[in-house]
Symmetry: C2
């Protein structure tokens, strides 16, 4: 966890951290399953390169997504909520204004 400013209380930081971990677990488990499924369907060389393209995109995406710096936390949580890796009730305990921001951003 990088330095987090005063606007995130310690308990909020902990809740956000736990939520990120949970989302990461879900997303990476789904990626592993999809990798197995896609590879199982490899019947021609083009399928191999499509799998490679898919993994390149997913790796780039996941590598940059789970930034827990306080300055981007609202955006990160909103994106995960939008993508379905995070559930709104997992943010319970975070201040209503932050939750409202996350929720609003997740609908954009």
């Amino acid at each position: 966890m990088q330095a987090i400013g005063r606007e995130w209380a310690m308990t909020e930081q902990q809740i956000a951290k736990t939520a990120l971990k949970q989302a990461y677990q879900r997303e990476t488990q789904a990626l592993m399953q999809e990798t197995r499924d896609r590879a199982g369907g490899v019947l021609q060389l083009e399928d191999v390169w499509r799998l490679h393209d898919f993994l390149s995109a997913r790796r780039h995406d996941i590598d940059g997504k789970y930034d827990d710096d306080h300055s981007s936390l609202v955006f990160v949580l909103a994106r995960l909520l939008k993508e379905g890796w995070l559930h709104a009730d997992e943010l319970s305990g975070i201040s209503p204004d932050k939750c409202a921001k996350v929720s609003a951003l997740s609908r954009m």
Copy 2:
């Protein structure tokens, strides 16, 4: 097939072309099988990224390997022979001096 110089007779060109196709078939079939095998063994995220690294390397390798320009044909055939994707008897009909070059290079 790109322009092939006078030093490769038409029949030699055809033999080399057929040999390249055969090697390509073998190598890509093996790649598809290995992709399925590796993906089937994905148990953690690290395995996904290892598979991605593997496919990146294989794609780069295969993309650049099957150059049938006459100027590089001896080297391409030698490499395929060395890697086991091509068998020496599949070059039968190509002039002895070229076969000797391919064979010598494949042992380097």
